[in-house]
């Protein structure tokens, strides 16, 4: 484990990934300090004005908004929209900061739950074999036969709007890769003599899978998982962009990009007029996904002995 950490930090690409990731982690942790929420639901982006057009970075909060917040007995700690506002006066900077928490939530929760499902199904399938394997793998095949994005979109539409629904959809169609991966490695590992030796000592099946097989097979899945955290966030953003994700005003980068759809091209003669409406949430998504991919790539290099040149 120490060796892995050492390598992660000594490699330039992964170091970049780690630095970006730490930046996001700090933002996520200190979100309430950076931008204190103005409503009861911190994930609700506060409005700086009632303007229909997006306002450029640095525009102040409108007087009637300040009055409104004072009326609601909320303390306004900042009066300028640092990154501008989106349509309807939604503060972009606030959305970016609290959207980091959303991104981590989506990425980590969806990946860890789908990984867990995949690991359980894949290992049971491989270890017991026979008709159990046949049934579980055919179910996996059925799920794999749906195009991921379309399936997730349909399911979210059926379940209704909201981030939790998006996550359910992503988990429902995101576990098959892990199941396949772990099944393959366990099929190979369960033929090892030490598994037979453990059985000969009377160790039960659960313990054999958990203590003997998984520690020997889980690393490829972890690598896959770390790479997928980024892509899960992208897909969630895509769902939001397509209008089936987080509701308007929710601090989610994808939702913010989606909401800025009408303003991607500015007014005639000034195409880049509203650049900030798309650019900031867009660049946050890119950096977030990039950091996970860099880390995942290096993890794969470290953990794959064939790439490491030791075999």
């Amino acid at each position: 484990m120490n060796r892995i950490l050492k390598k992660l930090f000594s490699n330039i690409t992964s170091l970049m990934g780690i630095i970006i990731l730490i930046f996001f982690i700090i933002i996520a942790i200190f979100a309430p300090a950076i931008t204190p929420p103005l409503s009861d639901d911190p994930y609700q982006i506060p409005r700086m004005s009632w303007d229909i057009n997006p306002q450029p970075p640095g525009s102040p909060m409108s007087d009637n908004m300040i009055e409104a917040y004072e009326f609601m007995e909320k303390e306004v700690k900042w009066e300028k929209a640092i990154c501008g506002t989106a349509e309807g006066g939604y503060d972009i900077f606030y959305g970016l900061i609290w959207g980091t928490r959303t991104a981590f939530k989506i990425g980590i929760i969806t990946v860890s739950i789908s990984m867990l499902i995949g690991i359980i199904l894949g290992s049971v399938s491989a270890y017991f074999g026979g008709w159990i394997d046949e049934i579980l793998m055919r179910i996996t095949d059925i799920f794999l036969s749906f195009p991921f994005l379309v399936a997730a979109m349909v399911l979210t539409t059926v379940l209704g709007r909201g981030l939790d629904k998006v996550m359910i959809a992503l988990i429902s169609f995101g576990w098959m890769g892990y199941a396949r991966l772990i099944r393959g490695s366990i099929l190979a590992t369960k033929e090892e003599t030490y598994v037979m030796a453990a059985k000969a000592l009377g160790v039960n099946d659960t313990k054999i899978i958990w203590k003997h097989l998984l520690p020997n097979t889980i690393f490829p899945v972890m690598v896959q998982g770390s790479m997928n955290i980024g892509s899960m966030v992208i897909t969630a953003a895509a769902l939001s962009f397509l209008g089936v994700g987080a509701p308007v005003g929710y601090a989610d980068w994808g939702q913010m990009v989606s909401f800025a759809r009408n303003w991607i091209i500015g007014s005639p003669g000034n195409a880049g007029q509203y650049w900030y409406a798309v650019f900031y949430p867009g660049i946050f998504i890119v950096l977030f996904v990039l950091s996970w991919n860099l880390i995942g790539d290096t993890l794969r290099d470290i953990l794959d002995p064939r790439l490491r040149g030791e075999l």
């Binding site: 074999g129 026979g130 090892e192 003599t193 030490y194 037979m196 030796a197 453990a198 059985k199 000969a200 000592l201 009377g202 160790v203 039960n204 313990k207 203590k211 003997h212 520690p215 020997n216």
Partner: protein, 334 residues
């Protein structure tokens, strides 16, 4: 004759077949033997004659496509073949334990030695992790591993081959089994280590008064450790007797062949004797006696009809039509 010995394991006409795509492989096809309390049974035979499959059949560790299709296994008077998986799991490790051929692969590389020894203890007895580790240290001391307190926390790759085999033995003996099956425990080790491990096993056997089934193709090892010997050929027991009878009055041509192919100090021969040919493909066994293609005593009768396992003398079983001729030949040599 000394006092009557307690019968621990009795195997009657065991048949374990593998159902492969090319056909049924009769890996074990008629194995009979008895193991008495405190005794050592040696099973000898060439590679691929079904020695290991017999061991796995006793432990009921074979998965599809292997299946025990016939015969009986009585352990302490109970039939093992009718036990449920959960009942078998309680027997494995606690009553019958096994030592494997390759100490390099039979230990899990990602778990510490201590964990792997204590695992069985915690599986079969209701003891805490700390107690189990303490017991593991004791076991490591018993099998002669220096600084066991340190070794329990080490991983298999930090141990040498001989050490690993000692750790394997500690694992197998952790729950004081009444029967230990050793599947070629010394094959993967070099000769000096082999001798040490054999010595260790002998002394441990005396301590725990258990029985041992020693599976090997090395007659030297058998001569060292066994009380009774079962000679296997092509999935069948061809001769079963006590050690003295096997080594001095072999009555089966295969046993005879094996014994004459050992280099001997007291005989002057230019060339070492060999048994011609190889073990026949289990998919296409010859008709009649399975050894007839390689046997120098073979007659037409051997090709036509397979001999049954008959009791030549007390506790001396043999599967051959021409035992009398073999005995005569053997008298000249041994």
């Amino acid at each position: 004759m000394e006092k009557k010995k307690k019968l621990l394991l009795e195997i009657k006409d065991l048949k374990t077949h593998f159902f492969t795509e090319e056909g049924i492989v009769k890996a074990v096809d008629g194995v009979d033997f008895k193991v008495y309390q405190g005794e050592t049974l040696g099973i000898v035979g060439e590679s691929g004659c079904g020695k290991s499959v017999t061991a796995f059949s006793i432990m009921r560790l074979l998965d599809y496509p292997g299946k025990t299709v016939g015969g009986e296994i009585f352990f302490k008077g109970e039939t093992l073949l009718k036990k449920s998986d959960a009942e078998m799991r309680k027997i494995r490790g606690k009553e019958i334990a096994m030592i494997f051929q390759e100490p390099m692969t039979a230990l899990n590389p990602v778990l510490t030695i201590g964990f792997q020894i204590s695992e069985a203890l915690r599986m079969h007895f209701d003891i805490s992790k700390e107690e189990a580790i303490k017991k593991a240290i004791k076991l490591l001391t018993k099998v002669g591993i220096p600084i066991p307190e340190q070794r329990v926390n080490e991983y298999p790759h930090q141990l040498s081959g001989g050490m690993r085999q000692r750790a394997m033995i500690a694992m197998a003996l952790s729950c004081d089994p009444t029967l230990l099956i050793a599947d070629e425990p010394t094959t993967a080790l070099d000769v000096t280590i082999q001798a040490q491990i054999l010595e260790l096993m002998k002394s441990l056997l005396r301590d725990f008064n258990g029985s041992l089934i020693m599976i090997t193709h090395d007659l030297g090892v058998i001569a060292e450790i066994a009380d009774r010997i079962a000679v296997m050929y092509a999935g069948k027991i061809v001769e079963y007797a006590d050690k003295k009878t096997i080594f001095h009055n072999p009555s089966h041509p295969y046993t005879f062949g094996l014994l004459t192919s050992i280099p001997r100090l007291d005989m002057e021969t230019k060339r070492l004797n060999v048994i011609p040919g190889i073990v026949p493909n289990p998919l296409h066994f010859p008709s009649g006696c399975k050894f007839n293609t390689r046997c120098k005593f073979a007659t037409k009768k051997c090709q036509e009809k397979e001999p049954a396992l008959i009791e030549l003398a007390k506790e001396h079983l043999i599967r051959c039509w021409h035992a009398d001729r073999v005995i005569e030949e053997a008298k000249k040599i041994f």
